[in-house]
Subunit: 586 residues, 2 copies
């Protein structure tokens, strides 16, 4: 074996001198020819190894290292979730809860360590990612956190009620979850925009741990939610068998508020689920930002925009919202009476309402895209992790709903069922189209370089003016958000190549085009809230559709729905947030 024998002869020993591995010194002693290894020298090389293993560690590798750790954390959790949801009582819910409690505590310890370390060297200027989380997003998440806290209180209440037959894990979990939620909101407000530059590999592990802890909490939430829903469904159809979370309801409650707690939990679940997925998305952006060099961006000072002309969008949107709430109430009442049936009037109502709303949304989105095509300008190509993630999440979350829609359409065509089914077919088709168009609209809006103040006099395009003559309050590049400081270079960069010159006049109100875009954004915003409300509060006629169940079999169709429904809910929530950003941006 000539290979291993010569191993330490030439360049390896050089590498030991040059910051290599200490183990190799053993071999060096045998063969040592040139370099004399004194204890000091060994200590130096050991220190160099330490440096090599922490700070010099290549960024790409550190990313993969931590991403793989996080993925395995999630997959282990997924294995536990699968075992619990299979209903075989080998792995029980308390095992899953214990695991989640443990990783939540680990996250809490890391957040504590991080905050203390960060606060200590506050004097040094720390970089912030201006694109990270907007104030609105953080505010929204805080509201979701409050609702999650109420859920925790109810969980504790339920535990007290069923103390006799509940395990200790069911008491510890909501307590730790409460602390965890409050700490995360604190972290969100004060540290989420941090751009970590030191101890990178170690902090990367902390952040990715937090990301996947939240993802796991999200997955657990989805599991209990769909389990709850399936049980309610089976109860209506008289085929209930008690498993998992429902299990503890079997024993006697010793307080009067038990049923109140159990029922309210059902309505609070969606908010908790959304809280965790949004937090994990924001932490993921923080993770992507580690070690990144941020160009100097100042805090956004948004000029107060004149929202005159914002009439049609809000009105139509509120009409859609009102209609949706009516449908929801009627459906829920029928559901309580256990009178929902395939092809019933409440189903026809649901589908017709959906078709009208989706058709309007398609039209609005198309109009927005046409407006963009009429004024082609280059997209902003700068790399912003949060925006890239937004795009990918929108696109990825669409898939669930698309798969569900395609399955419905295949079922209708395959069975050729008359009448009512074709309403479902049209509804599915519009659902696909609507997501297709809306994604295009949102993504283009996010990537477009929008002007701060629009053009009003069209003739100016024909009269080129030298760029350096423009006044400072003309076009300002939005990447430099501090308008005072960046005006000198912002003005030049703000001019796309095909528009060599911009007008001198400063318009007083919004231009018509921007008015229309703002109306579209607000209309789509309200419609997406509507489309989130319906499934979030139990209006899911897809579960009762006969033709899909006959075509795919009950097992596969339920699997498709359990995959698609949470993704769809997340899609709506996420597009609401994105459309709000679009509304502010255009």
């Amino acid at each position: 074996m000539p290979l291993l024998m010569d191993l330490d002869n030439t360049d390896l020993s050089a590498m030991v001198d040059h910051g290599g591995l200490d183990i190799m010194r053993l071999n060096k002693h045998r063969h040592s020819s040139s370099s004399s290894s004194t204890p000091e020298k060994g200590k130096t090389s050991f220190n160099r190894l330490k440096v090599g293993l922490t700070e010099d560690y290549p960024k790409k590798n550190a990313e993969i290292l931590s991403a793989q750790y996080g993925t395995n954390l999630l997959l282990f959790g997924a294995a536990l979730i699968l075992a619990v949801s299979s209903g075989s009582q080998v792995v029980r819910e308390e095992h899953l809860l214990s695991f989640i409690t443990t990783i939540m505590i680990v996250q809490l310890l890391w957040m504590l360590w991080y905050s203390v370390r960060r606060d200590r060297r506050k004097r040094r200027l720390s970089e912030k990612d201006a694109h990270g989380a907007t104030r609105w997003l953080r505010g929204g998440i805080t509201v979701l956190a409050l609702l999650s806290l109420i859920m925790d209180a109810f969980l504790i209440g339920r535990y007290v009620g069923y103390k006799a037959c509940a395990s200790a894990a069911q008491a510890v979990y909501p307590v730790v979850h409460t602390v965890h939620t409050i700490s995360q909101v604190y972290f969100l407000w004060f540290h989420i925009k941090d751009v970590v530059k030191t101890f990178e590999t170690i902090e990367r592990f902390g952040v990715i741990h937090a990301v996947f802890t939240n993802l796991l909490l999200w997955a657990t939430g989805i599991m209990s939610e769909s389990e709850h829903f399936m049980n309610a469904y089976r109860e209506r159809h008289g085929t209930l068998n008690h498993t998992g979370v429902e299990h503890i309801l079997e024993c006697n409650c010793n307080t009067s508020a038990c049923s109140m707690f159990a029922n309210s939990l059902y309505y609070l679940h969606p908010f908790n689920i959304e809280f965790h997925i949004l937090v994990s998305a924001m932490l993921f952006v923080m993770w992507k930002n580690i070690g990144r060099t941020i160009e100097p961006r100042h805090n956004k000072k948004r000029s107060v925009t004149n929202n005159a002309g914002l009439v049609l969008g809000p009105i139509l949107g509120l009409v859609a919202l009102t209609g949706t709430i009516t449908v929801l109430v009627v459906y829920t009442v029928k559901l309580r009476e256990a009178a929902v049936s395939q092809g019933g009037s409440e189903n026809t109502m649901f589908y017709c309402h959906g078709i009208v709303m989706l058709a309007c949304m398609c039209t609005a989105g198309t109009l927005g895209l046409v407006l963009y095509r009429m004024d082609n300008r280059p997209l902003d190509a700068s790399k912003i992790p949060s925006r890239k993630l937004d795009t990918e999440l929108l696109f990825g979350a669409s898939m669930g709903s698309w798969l569900m829609s395609w399955c419905s359409m295949v079922a209708v065509v395959a069975r050729g069922a008359p009448g009512y089914s074709w309403t479902g077919f049209l509804y599915s088709l519009l659902l696909i189209l609507e997501k297709y168009i809306q994604n295009l609209f949102i993504i283009e809006s996010l990537y477009r370089k929008h002007e701060v103040e629009p053009l009003s006099a069209p003739e100016v395009f024909a009269v080129p003016t030298p760029t350096h003559d423009l006044p400072c309050n003309g076009i300002v590049n939005r990447a430099y958000e501090n308008q005072d400081g960046a005006c000198e270079n912002g003005r030049v960069q703000g001019c796309p190549p095909e528009h060599p010159a911009f007008p001198l006049s400063v318009p007083v109100t919004l231009s018509r085009k921007r008015q229309i875009l703002k109306n579209i954004a607000i209309f789509l915003f309200l419609c997406n809230i509507s489309l989130w409300l319906l499934p979030a509060f139990g209006c899911r006629p897809q579960y009762d559709n006969g033709s899909e169940q006959e075509t795919f079999g009950s097992a596969i169709w339920t699997m498709v729905l359990n995959f698609a429904m949470p993704l769809n809910l997340f899609y709506r929530m996420h597009s609401v947030a994105s459309l709000f950003e679009v509304f502010q941006k255009v």
Copy 2:
């Protein structure tokens, strides 16, 4: 409604003049105040709209537009696959085959159009992506294509045998698939490295259509493969029910070679599946390259490297391969005798063999990573889509196997089964570790800037030499692969900042470090082939494991395996290709 009334007053009409939408002219006629719209002017604005919709279309949006189309194509196919595999005879196999045949024909037409158009303006220099597909990869895919063609011949043979009860789609499909496979191999050799610059939006649709057609063919292949496997499994356990592909075997065969065809198909399936996933990955890289600007890179002229010292890696690898083939033969023989049982000697053999091999692989990977840490150099940060995709595919494909392993470990711990189960536990743990380490090793190898000729005299580090005194055959930046032309600037760029000077001497043989790395790469290469062989040819004891089935229930565990097995097969195939590249690179 003040909004819509004022719509065409100010800037909208300007936009019509400036290349806007023709529809708007209708409004303009009513209100027109300033600009007189003659027919010529209208024609110009229509042409401008056409330009606006094709060439000026923002790249980001064109990407999303085509990606969404492709995704929906796949999801529709997935809906059909789900309907077919559910076994309810509403959607039958011929429907799925007809759909796939149609989209294959569309792809064929597009490839024809593309090739003709491309050949016509061959005179103009067209850009090529040097990183696209290496000769080795294309050669490998050609071999897989040949095996796919044999499979098609067998499918036609089987159709002839069962003509009486087979549908026309089952005859048309293999014929079209044959033409499709041959055309794709042609396309692969002559066009896959093209960087498309013209007609971008339209060509983007063509390429993405090709990507998702291949993905769908891959998914169909996996469906029939796992269906076939599950049927063989049920047959052994006496619970067979005929569905799908197996259905036609029920009628009488009128040629003698029928069973030969049916059995051989089983062994040819894995190659066809790999063919389609690899082609779709390569087409995806082509899609990502559309509209990209490639820096001038010349064709790789690889110096013939002296492979002396390449002994231990190949020997150990061949030992692993031989052992694997032995295990495979023993297992398959036992399987034929229907004697495979949970905890049998062949299972113990499988797990022990796996544990030893995986432990060796972990050690080899760790050694490689330690060698890299001993010589920290910055990673190559240039953006190469094919390399990024390689990384993501490795990482994504690992997930299937990781989930399976975690489920196994949860099952063993939950049931606390003695003896044999802990072998499975150790095997799963090592499987996770091995993929973790191997991914890190491959990704770092791909991203590292490797020197062409290594250093041999360690003392040189201490004697800085001015860079401009170095001879031209010293260190050459690998990005500029034409060594003659790029030597002047390559030399300077090739020097990482922490090594200000490099030796004057040109080493004759490989350095020890590179020898070790090459040995590691070749060892891992052979081991991955081994780990691919076992499940590809039916050695899947995981399906027979009792403890997992008891913990997760038969349905969930089979679902996990049907998800994880194809991903695992793909992971092994892909890491074999990547390790080959690593072997050439270090």
